[in-house]
């Protein structure tokens, strides 16, 4: 790319567009926001196409010594690349989702979203520890405003809870970062990923980082901010929360906790597994009894994120790749599910499941999309969900079969609550006249849902496109973790290979030989 600062450009475009949105009226703000996010999407695709698979680990690097104490350093590897592409892919869809439903203070709304995009790309692209922290924390401000200004009934409680919960999680991480920089003498993330911290210190550092990422992820039992925030946020806010913000936790684990503190990660492996198992079972059961569509999807997010954490802490290639694919897939699928909820919420203005029913009759096209995403969420083969969950569970199976057993119930329970949800909304009789009168998808909603559906199927049928860019990075991470990886309980011992086929009989073999020779 000849050193063209494409990442900075991707940060600058939404930032400038966001500032512009503050000063124009509603219609122009929508157009500016859509244009800016589409340009960023195009740049994201350029980024992907030009990414040199198998090339240098860190590409598109930029570095300017602008500040005291830390530098403005950007650069991405395959893992960050995919998450950036996911963010840029979801953003125009979010803008479209808010096209008609947001009528109040549109300029500020679009500005908040564009700022959010800047910060998300910044988080994934930052190569300096403190730059990462600044982007990571700054996301609180626009999200707080989005939930608080444009949210639902209990938006104020939800916005406070979101803000303070995640802030409390992150501040200890800052102290840990300061300590690390003091010890290692650099703020450069790639350098820190190679630095071996003393194991005793790793424990504390790991815990401090864990406090932050576990809340962001979110892991049970610190997930309680998520259902509130999801339910109260406007549709697009939920999409961004589920689609990208939750991925910051997983990205944090894969970028910081695992490579920087491998010994501590191994030491706390049961903590992560235990919380993940609890999350899978408990939040799935909670999801089963929800009456609120958004809350149900929010709890299902917690369960899916638990699959991510077990995959990450399986300490092998399958687990790590699976975790990444689950993150990408969940970003698409849960985002799409929230959009599906948004579609019917815009028509009926209620999130209560009982107020709908039989939508397959009057909204058949909608029902098809909703079904696809429901199946993807369950993990039906052919959809992205299957690839990720299968790889994750295959990874954890090498490490511990009991954990696998418990986590796999999540798939079954997931099928339970998702199918039950789908049945209550789309099938059955049309018990509510107003729900029965709702029109089917309009072109704008088609434009939102169709690209995601295509991506979900693509990732499900040909995941190689997504696995290839990160293969080398995952392998590097796996090599780094190898020294600390806990022993698996499967005791898979490779026997010595037999000299001949298992069904070979001595006489028959000779006869066959003879025949062969006879043929000559």
């Amino acid at each position: 790319m000849g050193g063209f600062p494409i990442l900075s450009l991707m940060l600058a475009i939404p930032l400038l567009a966001g500032i512009a949105c503050l000063f124009v009226e509603a219609k122009a703000a929508r157009t500016i926001a859509l244009a800016a996010t589409l340009v960023d999407l195009a740049l994201g695709i350029v980024l992907w196409l030009n990414f040199d698979i198998g090339g240098a680990q860190w590409q598109y690097t930029e570095r300017y010594e602008l500040f005291a104490g830390f530098s403005y350093a950007l650069g991405i590897d395959g893992i960050a690349l995919l998450l950036i592409v996911l963010s840029t892919f979801l953003m125009p869809i979010c803008i479209l989702a808010s096209w008609e439903s947001i009528t109040r203070r549109v300029g500020e709304y679009m500005a908040a979203f564009l700022l959010m995009e800047v910060l998300m790309i910044g988080v994934f692209a930052a190569q300096d520890l403190f730059l990462f922290y600044i982007f990571f924390e700054a996301g609180l401000i626009p999200m707080y405003l989005i939930i608080g200004i444009w949210g639902g009934q209990d938006r104020i409680y939800a916005s406070y809870k979101f803000f303070l919960y995640t802030l409390l999680g992150s501040v200890l991480m800052l102290i840990a970062m300061l300590w690390m920089v003091n010890e290692a003498g650099t703020t450069d993330i790639p350098a820190l990923m190679q630095y071996d911290f003393p194991p005793a210190a790793q424990t504390w550092l790991w815990l401090a980082f864990f406090a932050s990422f576990a809340v962001k992820m979110p892991m049970w039992p610190v997930h309680t901010w998520l259902p509130d925030a999801h339910v109260q946020a406007p549709t697009a806010g939920s999409v961004i929360l589920a689609g990208v913000l939750l991925k910051m936790g997983g990205y944090g684990f894969i970028r910081f906790s695992l490579p920087m503190f491998p010994e501590a990660s191994a030491q706390f492996v049961w903590l992560v597994w235990g919380l993940s198992m609890a999350a899978v079972v408990i939040t799935s059961l909670i999801a089963l009894v929800q009456q609120d569509v958004k809350k149900l999807i929010a709890y299902s997010s917690v369960a899916h994120m638990a699959i991510v954490t077990v995959g990450l802490f399986a300490f092998n290639v399958q687990g790590l790749e699976g975790a990444m694919i689950v993150m990408l897939s969940h970003g698409l699928v849960s985002g799409a599910l929230f959009l599906c909820v948004g579609v019917i919420y815009d028509r009926l203005h209620t999130r209560e499941i009982d107020r709908y029913g039989g939508l397959a009759i009057n909204m058949p096209k909608y029902a098809v999309f909703f079904l696809l995403f429901t199946m993807a969420s369950i993990g039906l083969p052919g959809t992205s969900g299957f690839v990720g969950e299968f790889l994750s569970l295959a990874g954890i199976y090498q490490a511990n079969s009991w954990v696998t057993l418990v986590c796999t119930t999540g798939i079954i329970l997931g099928a339970g609550y998702m199918l039950y949800l789908y049945w209550r909304i789309a099938f059955g009789v049309q018990k509510n006249a107003d729900a029965a009168a709702m029109p089917d998808l309009n072109p704008r909603e088609w434009a939102m849902l169709a690209p995601i559906a295509a991506a979900v199927l693509w990732m499900g049928v040909y995941p190689e496109s997504f696995l290839a860019p990160m293969r080398q990075d995952i392998a590097a991470l796996d090599a780094r973790l190898a020294r600390a990886a806990p022993d698996g309980d499967a005791d898979l011992a490779a026997g010595t290979p037999r000299a001949e086929a298992a069904n070979a009989v001595a006489g028959a073999h000779d006869a066959a030989d003879g025949e062969a020779e006879g043929a000559h």
Binding site: L66, F67, A68, G69, R105, E108, F130, Y133, I134, F135, E137, A138, L140, I141, Y144, L145, G148, I149, R155, I156, S159, Y160, F163, L164, L167, L168, V171, L172, L174, I175, L178, W179, V181, N182
Partner: protein, 486 residues
């Protein structure tokens, strides 16, 4: 020769005293000269800032900076603090005329008192002798007592002045008692002498002296447990004066405390460190908890200033050059944030042009006065230390210094407590952005207010990070100058 070089070193103070005396004459001889005197006072302060700047830029330190046989140091550290003091005094002069317009024109005593207060503070930060310290402190305090009760017709203002005076006098007494103990047990009032005398074992008398001196200074910087006067005085005093109290005297008192702690008591760091750590954590927590229930913006900001002092003291507790430098960076950022938020409060006027300062009055400010609400929101998030706003940088450097000095636990507790503080800052944002408009704030604002608010908001925006190198450099030089003695 000696006298000449001494006089050259105190040139900024001479300028200020002469200007103060001359302006006092103008004020006495002509009526309605308020505006003119205000402008001239600002010019004098600007001139004094220009005079102190070279010492900071060249990083002046050592014996060359000592005037009057070691009673006064015009080093880079003092210059850094003086520039902050003078600049905030100028800002407080700029915002005042419009405020006092409501009760007729501004009276000329206001700028004159500000000048003398600034002069007192300049002496405080340069003091290297307990006597100089006390003279500076009292010169500042006497002017401040009068300023607090400047609105003679307002009961709250009179009450604020009286409270400030009574408690301030008590604190001065405590400080003076501490100084006398230190003098009694070390036989000297100079910081250098006290440092030398205390290099050995700390006697009981010295310890008491040290504690009393620090307690007296803690009152001046409004650190817990000597903070009780702050909310009442901040609420009662006229808002421009409150702006002044929250900025310049804070800088002066903190700088003075740092000099006393690291210079005079520099050999007994362990003795005062635990006091400072306690005061820091207590200030952070009490400041944060106290602010939660407040419904008056000025009271809320008063607690916020207590909270901020806690973070500043963490830098002092580190006791290293990095700690002092972090403290100074924090002070500079804090001054900008306080100026911005108090000026924003000053700009809240109802249709009759009267000041409003209730939290409920700014409900829905974002729809009626979007730009003002945006600026105030930037200030609030910045005070809460949320990146990417520049307030984060202050906390960042302070905690970095603490971690470097191996005070990881202090840093961890301090930063966790900062989350409590975030609650009320975001509550202000919530009131402005999430609530239905109350429609109270409708009055127009003065250009001087917009100017100061605009400059401080720009500085607190992420653009501020571009200043980090310059600011860090200057603060490092100042810190080096302070620790030169060692």
């Amino acid at each position: 020769m000696q006298l000449q070089s001494s006089l050259a070193l105190i040139a900024p103070e001479i300028v200020l005293s002469l200007a103060g005396l001359a302006l006092l004459l103008i004020a006495a001889w002509s009526r309605n000269a308020g505006r003119l005197v205000t402008i001239l006072a600002a010019v004098a302060l600007g001139g004094a800032s220009v005079l102190v700047a070279p010492a900071l830029c060249s990083g002046a330190m050592g014996p060359d900076t000592l005037a009057f046989e070691g009673q006064f140091a015009a080093d880079a550290f003092a210059s850094f603090a003086k520039i902050l003091i003078f600049v905030s005094a100028i800002a407080c002069l700029m915002v005042a005329p419009r405020f006092f317009d409501r009760d007729g024109a501004i009276r000329a005593e206001y700028p004159v008192l500000m000048l003398f207060a600034a002069l007192g503070m300049a002496i405080m930060v340069s003091a290297t002798d307990f006597m100089t310290l006390y003279i500076g402190l009292e010169l500042n305090s006497l002017a401040a007592y009068v300023l607090a009760s400047f609105m003679r017709s307002d009961d709250r203002s009179a009450e604020a002045g009286l409270k400030y005076f009574v408690l301030g006098a008590l604190a001065s007494g405590i400080l003076l008692y501490g100084i006398s103990l230190v003098y009694g047990f070390t036989g000297t009032t100079s910081f250098e002498g006290a440092r030398a005398a205390m290099s050995g074992e700390l006697s009981m008398g010295m310890l008491f002296g040290l504690i009393f001196v620090l307690a007296g200074l803690a009152f001046k910087i409004a650190a817990v447990p000597f903070h009780m006067w702050t909310p009442d005085v901040y609420e009662g005093a006229p808002t421009p004066v409150t702006t002044f109290f929250a900025t310049a005297p804070k800088v002066a008192a903190v700088a003075l405390t740092a000099r006393v702690a690291l210079d005079a008591f520099g050999m007994q760091m362990d003795a005062w460190r635990q006091i400072v750590i306690f005061a820091a954590l207590a200030s952070i927590v009490v400041g944060a908890l106290g602010a939660i229930g407040q419904s008056n913006l000025k009271r809320l900001l008063a607690y916020s200033s207590i909270n901020n002092v806690g973070f500043i003291l963490i830098g002092l507790a580190a006791g290293t050059a990095a700690g002092v430098s972090a403290m100074l960076v924090y002070l500079a950022i804090y001054v900008a944030m306080s100026l911005g938020s108090f000026v924003a409060v000053l700009m809240l006027r109802n249709a009759q042009g009267e000041q409003v300062e209730g939290l409920a009055d700014i409900a829905g400010l974002s729809s009626t006065r979007p730009l003002l609400a945006l600026c105030l929101a930037v200030m609030m998030f910045s005070l809460a230390g949320i990146p990417p706003l520049f307030g984060f940088w202050g906390k960042f450097v302070v905690f970095w210094a603490a971690v470097e000095a191996d005070l990881v636990a202090l840093a961890a507790i301090g930063i966790a407590a900062s989350v409590i503080g975030a609650f009320y800052y975001i509550k202000v944002v919530k009131v402005m952005y999430f609530d239905e408009p109350a429609g109270v704030v409708t009055g127009r604002s003065d250009w001087a207010h917009w100017l100061i608010l605009g400059v401080t908001t720009a500085a607190m925006s992420p653009l501020g990070y571009l200043l980090t190198r310059v600011l860090g450099d200057l603060a490092d030089r100042a810190a080096e100058a302070l620790l030169f003695v060692a």
